[in-house]
């Protein structure tokens, strides 16, 4: 590991100034579970590391009448340990509670997971399915992006020079809705997703028809993929295994996987279908039980 400066800004302005000044040679550190590993193997060589954990705006975790704000430096563990959040957004628990072990979950952040932009990131499909917006701040002020537009490729994000993620904002779940996330790994824990998937559904009052659905697949394209068509095909259709299979087929056709040490193209296509179906079943089940 080469020598670098470590700064702990106490305010957002200070952090933004340093980012603007140092540009690409500066890196924000949230939980560090990706950055430190990358620095150790020399894949990242920042000259300045900015600790995000003391910037107030980045440490907000707030549930209100219209949704949930997750500051970029909020740990996975503090999300799933919050009973009100867990009750309203069980799909967030699905993903935040399976990243690494408990120690890692105490450090790792949803914001970091998003900014690391790994195709296999476990929190991003759930954020996409839940319709989350990424709130950014930079030298030219504030802007917002739907999470599905935030990642541009492996390790590449829509962040511009000097810009940083402040928080993600997830809207309040609609009535009769449910969401579910799962991943496939060959082992039973401690692994990178071969494919992961999230689904969020809104059902009609009798819970026999889809009003709308959002489906996202990870580790099967250069970025976590929002498969809009797979959700759209369900709108106004009855809740049935046939429709689930149709959405799964669309998701499987939409993915653009590669073969690597974690899985093959064919296996990932198959898994995209299987996991889409399982995520939908999980989401429907939650919708029927009041999203629990």
């Amino acid at each position: 590991m080469h020598d670098f400066q470590f700064v702990t800004p106490g305010t957002l302005n200070e952090a933004l100034k340093l980012l603007a000044k140092h540009g690409a040679s500066a890196q924000l550190l949230a939980g560090g579970t990706d950055l430190i590993v990358k620095m150790r193997v020399r894949h990242a060589r920042p000259d300045l590391v900015l600790d995000a954990k003391h910037i107030p705006e980045l440490n907000v975790l707030k549930l209100d009448g219209t949704g949930l704000t997750i500051g970029a430096a909020v740990s996975c563990r503090s999300i799933y340990l919050d009973e009100r959040i867990a009750a309203r957004y069980p799909a967030l628990v699905d993903c935040t509670a399976l990243i690494g072990g408990i120690q890692i979950q105490g450090r790792a952040t949803v914001g970091g997971n998003l900014c690391n932009a790994a195709p296999s990131a476990d929190t991003i499909p759930a954020l996409i399915a839940l319709g989350a917006m990424a709130h950014l701040r930079g030298p030219k002020g504030k802007r917002q992006l739907p999470v599905e537009k935030f990642c541009l490729g492996p390790g590449k994000t829509a962040l511009r020079k000097g810009e940083m993620l402040i928080h993600v904002r997830i809207p309040k779940p609609a009535k009769n809705s449910g969401a579910f996330f799962l991943r496939f790994i060959p082992r039973n824990e401690m692994d990178i997703a071969v494919v992961n998937a999230a689904a969020a559904v809104v059902l009609d009052a009798r819970k026999t028809k889809f009003i709308s659905a959002r489906i996202a697949i990870g580790a099967a394209a250069p970025t976590p993929l929002y498969v809009e068509d797979a959700g759209a095909v369900l709108a106004d259709e009855p809740v049935s295994e046939n429709m689930i299979a149709e959405a799964a087929r669309i998701a499987s056709d939409a993915v653009r996987p590669i073969t690597d040490m974690r899985g093959t193209i064919e296996q990932r296509r198959d898994l995209a279908a299987v996991l889409t179906a399982r995520a939908l079943r999980g989401a429907i089940d939650r919708a029927k039980r009041g999203n629990r």
Binding site: R42, F184, R187, Q267, D270, L271, V274
Partner: protein, 759 residues
């Protein structure tokens, strides 16, 4: 030596005392490789080849040398050519020391991704790492040869113009530019197949796997003023490391002192010198002590894994269930240098069955991967994966219960083995009968669930061990052996000393000597420590008792022949009033000729065979191909379990490693021969959630080659899991697995093929 048919009633052997090193290990007091520090210590880092196969055109270290804090840089040019060639390396193996030297650091050619090119010592690890990145190497990249079949194909790139074929148990002979071969057999195979009513013929592949010991290779070297180097290292064999360092660095063996530190796992992979000669050379050049720590990635890329294989198996049986013929051909990866476990893999493939007509062929194949190393019963897991599946298929064709079919053909005491000698006492049939009677064998199974069985054999090793016992005046005993403790052998050896001396195990204080403080002892390999070093301890104890009996005779003014020794009590057979406990007599030694100690060096040969039978229940997720292990029962003959809990631990550990090999573990190389999954994240060993509680059934057929009947236990439990799981998958969903690992994608592929065949 005692005959085990008259086994004594044991006081200590067969109990489960608490290990003396346990608390220090869980509280962090035990000194492992990375815990060792010494004043003035520099830190070494290694430059490794990014190419699987390349000629080294030039190495320019000038930029690295200019970095402040860099104290020494070495390349292959700093090492002499070894003065000796073929050297015995334990387990009947011979190693060409030129290969060992070239494996330590490349000279002219890099043979695998991760092969050492140069090393740097600097004031701290970060400077050393930066300096490594400044070394400029020019390569001529050559086509990599990455599996046995392409290495044996005409036109394959050639690794070595000439090489000494390896020898592990048996010698092989060079037959192809990248391969050497051995063959052995019995009877008439063609006639055997003519007699057969059912024949099964199949092909199998397995991938390269690693032992995955949790502690990586770590050592520290320091020279003294008279040119003696001391190396503190984490190893399975201090003497093995000493011998290799001496030859590779051209230092007299007497001038290399290797101090073994605690070891965080070895499994066969930690008796080869990788970083020790580098640390020694760096320390010499810098004139400072140097520590070298291998990262996990380095360990996976560049230390000896176990071979990937290609196997052809053809076996035949008669209607009554009698095996009549086997024709088996095995090609095992050797890695970048010759000498894989081919003979062991071939010999253990069928040695547990009586088959009159056999042809066994093995190829030791050079590929651009790290030189393979033993991994728990080296070679046997791969051949067992093939043979035990064929056995189940034959049983199915015959309409026989697979366990019954194995009982019908199981090798029994006195049967003639393929190596020509009669089988020593074994309890194979009894073990298989125990499998049949176990409740697990008939327990109900659900949908997509299946049960598999596999039966396995391993030789184990004897080899040389030394032990010294010193009696203290308070009746306690110091015990020093040369055997590094991988698995609790400090305690199993202390227990044998206590048993032999007739004292409490708490009164025996075990230590592990360094190469300057204890007699020659080969590595802790081949399941040999409790067996062979146990005999050394036993023999030393007999010498102590004889000397002490003599002292009692002196004190009682009688002839030593009149002194009876029983369970630590010394009595005068002619005078019942003359009686000493061990402790009482110990107190009198100083004034009856001085304190007593005794040394013993032994090379026992009658190791007894290891047999194991495993039962596994699995469930397949037919949508994803994922296999979950539901229930596991492992049966094994320990001869005599010295410490039954440790035996169970060895069996459970072996099973877990075998399950990893079965389901997910593999080296994943890209098209250029670079290892992509060089981390424990992606080299998918099982974690706690992947395995159920593993039930252990210990059987005891005493080994006549050991005074307490002990057999080795550490290796054979890794052998059956892969085959047992494959048989269970067939039982669950009707697909035959022909490749390891049986990872989800591969199982799913089989399910899809099955579906399209049915359609």
């Amino acid at each position: 030596m005692n005959k085990p048919e008259k086994l004594p009633h044991f006081r200590v052997v067969g109990t489960n005392p608490i290990r003396p090193d346990g608390l220090d290990k869980v509280t962090g007091r035990a000194v492992y490789g990375d815990d060792f520090k010494i004043a003035g210590m520099l830190h070494g880092k290694v430059l490794r080849s990014p190419h699987a196969h390349a000629r080294i055109k030039s190495i320019d270290t000038r930029r690295a040398a200019k970095l402040p804090g860099v104290r020494a840089i070495i390349t292959g040019a700093d090492f002499p050519k070894p003065s000796v060639a073929m050297v015995p390396m334990g387990e009947g193996g011979y190693v060409d020391m030129n290969d060992t030297a070239d494996n330590v650091i490349a000279k002219g050619k890099a043979f695998y991704d991760g092969h050492v090119i140069a090393a740097v010592a600097a004031d701290n690890p970060h400077i050393a790492e930066e300096a490594v990145a400044l070394i400029d190497v020019k390569y001529e990249v050559l086509p990599p040869v990455m599996d046995v079949r392409s290495a044996m194909a005409p036109g394959a790139a050639v690794l070595h113009e000439t090489f000494n074929p390896g020898a592990f148990f048996m010698k092989t002979h060079k037959v192809l530019p990248n391969a050497s071969r051995l063959e052995l057999g019995a009877g008439d195979v063609a006639r055997g197949f003519k007699e057969a009513d059912v024949i099964v013929e199949r092909e199998f592949t397995t991938e390269t796997v690693h032992q995955g010991y949790i502690e990586s290779h770590i050592c520290t070297a320091q020279w003294d003023e008279r040119g003696q180097v001391t190396i503190w290292t984490t190893t399975q064999g201090a003497f093995a490391i000493r011998d290799q360092v001496a030859i590779v660095c051209a230092v007299p063996m007497s001038h290399v002192r290797v101090v073994p530190l605690e070891i965080g796992g070895g499994f066969g992979g930690k008796d080869t010198a990788y970083i020790e000669p580098l640390a020694a050379m760096l320390a010499k050049k810098a004139d400072r002590p140097v520590k070298v720590v291998m990262s996990r990635a380095e360990s996976l890329r560049a230390t000896g894994p176990s071979s990937g294989t290609f196997i052809r198996a053809k076996m035949g049986a008669k209607k009554d269930g009698t095996l009549v013929a086997a024709d088996l051909s095995f090609a095992y990866e050797a890695g970048g240098f010759p000498g894989g476990p081919i003979a062991a893999g071939v010999l253990t493939s069928i040695t547990r069955y009586n088959i009159p007509n056999v042809r066994l062929e093995g190829f030791d194949v050079l590929v651009n991967k790290p030189k393979v190393k033993p991994y728990r019963a080296p070679g046997a897991t791969q051949s067992n994966f093939a043979v035990e599946q064929v056995m189940n298929q034959l049983a199915e064709k015959l309409g026989m219960d697979p366990v019954e079919f194995r009982i019908r053909n199981a090798m029994k005491t006195g049967d003639r083995l393929i190596l020509g000698f009669p089988c020593p006492p074994v309890g194979g049939v009894e073990m298989l009968e125990a499998v049949k009677k176990h409740p697990h064998y008939k327990a109900p199974l659900g949908k997509n669930q299946g049960r598999g069985v596999a039966f396995s054999f391993w030789f184990g090793a004897g080899l040389t061990s030394s032990a010294e016992l010193s009696v203290n005046s308070d009746g306690t005993v110091q015990m020093c052996t040369g055997s590094c403790d991988l698995s609790g052998t400090r305690l199993t050896l202390a227990m044998q000393a206590a048993e032999a001396l007739g004292i409490d195990v708490e009164d025996v204080s075990p230590t592990i000597g360094d190469t300057h403080s204890v007699g020659y002892t080969l590595q802790s390999v081949g399941s040999r420590t409790t067996f062979a070093t146990g005999i050394a301890v036993y023999e030393a104890a007999q010498k102590v008792l004889k000397e002490m009996a003599g002292r009692a005779a002196l004190l009682w003014e009688t002839d030593p022949a009149n002194v009876a020794v029983d369970r630590g009590d010394f009595t005068d057979m002619n005078n019942p009033a003359h009686r000493f406990t061990f402790r009482e007599l110990a107190d009198k030694l100083e004034h009856s000729g001085g304190p007593v100690s005794a040394q013993s060096t032994v090379t026992p040969e009658r190791v007894g065979f290891q047999l194991a039978a495993h039962l596994v229940d699995i469930e397949v997720d037919t949508e994803t191909g994922k296999v979950d292990i539901l229930r596991y029962t492992a049966f094994q003959d320990a001869g005599k379990a010295v410490h039954p809990d440790f035996v169970a631990g060895q069996i459970q550990g072996g099973v877990v490693q075998g399950l990893g090999w079965a389901l997910n573990e593999e080296f994943w190389y890209d098209a250029k021969g670079r290892l992509c999954n060089a981390s424990l994240l992606d080299y998918r060993m099982p974690i706690a959630l992947d395995v159920p509680m593993i039930d252990v059934v210990i059987l005891e057929t005493p080994n006549p080659g050991h005074p307490f009947g002990v057999r080795g236990v550490g290796e054979v439990p890794i052998v059956p899991p892969a085959a047992a799981v494959a048989n269970a998958i067939y039982d669950a969903i009707g697909v035959r697995m022909d490749a390891l690992p049986m990872k989800p994608g591969r199982v799913l592929q089989k399910i899809k093929e099955q579906k399209s065949a049915a359609a």
